[in-house]
Subunit: 383 residues, 2 copies
């Protein structure tokens, strides 16, 4: 962000230092104090432990945030897709784990071609096809590529479907001189969002028992596993206790959202993480009593989750609904004073990851001051 006082063309629409309230909306606003606190709290949980974190960059898609996570102890970052990894590598992030199988030869070749410029590049695989593509590309490039066996955990997303299948895939990997088997990965996505702590605990433990059995079989077949990676923001506490993983793919803790805020931590304690990410929106029409139309609709909030929650600019009890692609619809509580065109509201995002994917930049604030603008380099890089 230019801070020399000279405004470039359209600078007022990009963001003028200090002017949080005057941002062109809808804008994705990151509260830096809370973000830094979330970063610090997750790091503290792992300080002095044998386990560590390799946070998932699919949440933030941002090289600046990846670097901050690594400066505070993260081993590297995870990426969901090749396009995401390529964007972050081009922006200087040097340690990447691809957590989804890559089965497109051009994607595999392009990623393997990045290896020389990186400190670490790891692939999760769950099929012989993925292994073969990787082995061929690594052989052609004359490099050795690190591989994890992706293990399915009952939610049928990706992964070897049984311990036997995982061991067989491991044998297929170790048969290739251009591949190095580093360990295993599994992500129990369905556990993360079980709101009730007792139910989440029970399902988390059930899943971990299966993972532990596969880990034991792989260790017997191939020796000690350097990486056993999994877990997320919604299960890190359960997973830490179980001592199955040595790396955690936590993601949403940096931002939090309506969905994660609804998940109750164990013992109904408070989360150590608070909401740092908001969509700022403006009332564009207020001609109906008790209602107001904002400028943020389906194109500004991901729609797979619950409704956004309004946290400033409107009275408590205000409900945010949608009026289509371009507009939101604020319903004020009974008796509240009407809003006016131009009023600015701040909302917690329903589901942070796909909402981030709708924006080009984070508008970074401290209190009411806009202090920086961070590009979201991997926005739209979902291939």
């Amino acid at each position: 962000m230019s801070t020399d006082g000279k405004l470039g063309p359209n600078q007022r629409l990009i963001g003028v230092p200090g002017s949080r309230a005057a941002l062109a909306t809808p804008a994705l606003v990151l509260d830096l104090d809370i973000f830094e606190q979330n970063l610090e709290r997750m790091a503290e949980i792992f300080d002095g432990r044998p386990e560590g974190i390799r946070p998932h960059a699919k949440t933030h898609k941002c090289a600046t945030i990846a670097r901050k996570q690594m400066e505070r102890g993260a081993y590297g970052v995870c990426c969901a897709k090749p396009g995401e990894a390529i964007a972050l590598a081009e922006a200087g992030v040097r340690s990447l784990l691809l957590t989804s199988p890559v089965v497109d030869p051009y994607k595999v070749e392009t990623l393997v071609g990045l290896r020389g410029g990186l400190d670490e590049l790891i692939f999760a695989v769950d099929s012989e096809r993925a292994v073969d593509l990787l082995a061929r590309a690594a052989g052609t490039a004359g490099v050795v590529i690190s591989v994890l066996i992706d293990v399915g955990v009952g939610n049928n997303r990706t992964g070897a479907r049984s311990t036997e299948a995982a061991v067989a895939l491991g044998r297929h990997i170790t048969a290739h001189a251009s591949l190095e088997l580093l360990g295993m990965q599994c992500y129990a996505g369905h556990v993360q969002h079980i709101e009730d702590p007792v139910a989440r605990d029970a399902e988390g433990r059930r899943v971990l028992e299966g993972i532990a059995a596969t880990k034991a079989a792989l260790t017997e077949a191939f020796g000690p596993l350097k990486i056993v990676s999994g877990g997320g923001t919604g299960s890190y506490d359960i997973d830490l206790e179980a001592k199955v993983f040595n790396e955690f793919q936590v993601g949403s803790y940096v931002f939090m959202d309506v969905e994660y805020n609804a998940v109750r931590p164990r013992g109904n304690a408070a989360w150590p993480f608070e909401t740092s990410l908001f969509v700022q929106t403006t009332v564009v029409s207020a001609n109906v009593e008790g209602r107001a139309t904002t400028d943020a609709g389906y194109k500004s909030f991901a729609m797979d989750g619950p409704q956004p929650i309004v946290v400033s600019g409107a009275p408590e009890g205000t409900v945010y609904k949608f009026l289509g692609d371009e507009h939101g619809w604020v319903h004020l509580p009974e008796g509240a004073a009407d809003l006016a065109a131009g009023d600015v509201l701040s909302c917690v995002t329903p589901h942070c990851d796909p909402t981030v994917n709708l924006y080009d930049v984070y508008h970074v604030v401290r209190g009411d001051m806009l202090v920086d603008i961070w590009p979201i380099e991997a926005r739209g890089r979902n291939w």
Copy 2:
């Protein structure tokens, strides 16, 4: 798209001439033959009539498509947001109507600053604040800005809430020497997607009666209206018959989608428009019988509508579900042969507009040949 046979870095991931099946997925694929047919059919409907179209660019966000619409008779294009209009103006589109009220002074100033380089720039307004901001910016810039009164049509989105309010707003507009009142606009969004033709017809006619009354009052107060703009793909036939509008803001006809395909035309006839837009996705994991995991989840399909429909690459009866941000989940019909990692599927988008907003480019095909790549200049420009 480079067609000289030389491949730039990452060209295989961007798209190689001819290779539709080898696109890096998820990719947004536009079938050019069907797209051109849709363009032609809508144009033919208006050929020789006093009414015309000013298609809504919020659907496609693409200067190439805007130009093709204007080459085939469109007066110009509509934009939902200032950022969208600025992006299209920068890409050379010279006739723009802003259909949502703009109440941010910086946005108004920036748009008014574009006026000199455009053939036409029209604003819809629904509040005195919007009028005053526009009048001030136009006065400062020494230009006259064209204005439509945005009239609410019972769906409480934007617009003057009554005929009296519309007339009062008209008087406020004509009191400013820097503004020129061109007419009125109203968009009955809720009518467009009523699937039953008889119910849609009834609601469309009901809404049009109110619009006609407001039009009569505005004509009496201000003389003949040059522009009476409204309608959409789901109501153009009803609206044409009613002779209330002289301009139609049709949008989705260029692409069609699962939602619009579910709307039944009057008399249960066939739509003159066919689906031209698809999301191409690849199976990345196929370890579960009767299922397959694809690479297109919440970040690759807008989630406000129904499920995508698979039209190629999997047998009829295949159902597309979601497995989260990054993955889709294909359920094959009983007895069908399993898919394999690497298989490529094509899906109709549930709701075209917000899905387009997730992609940087259209991969333009004729049959199985990739023939062009069109940038989506206004992607993400929802401010």
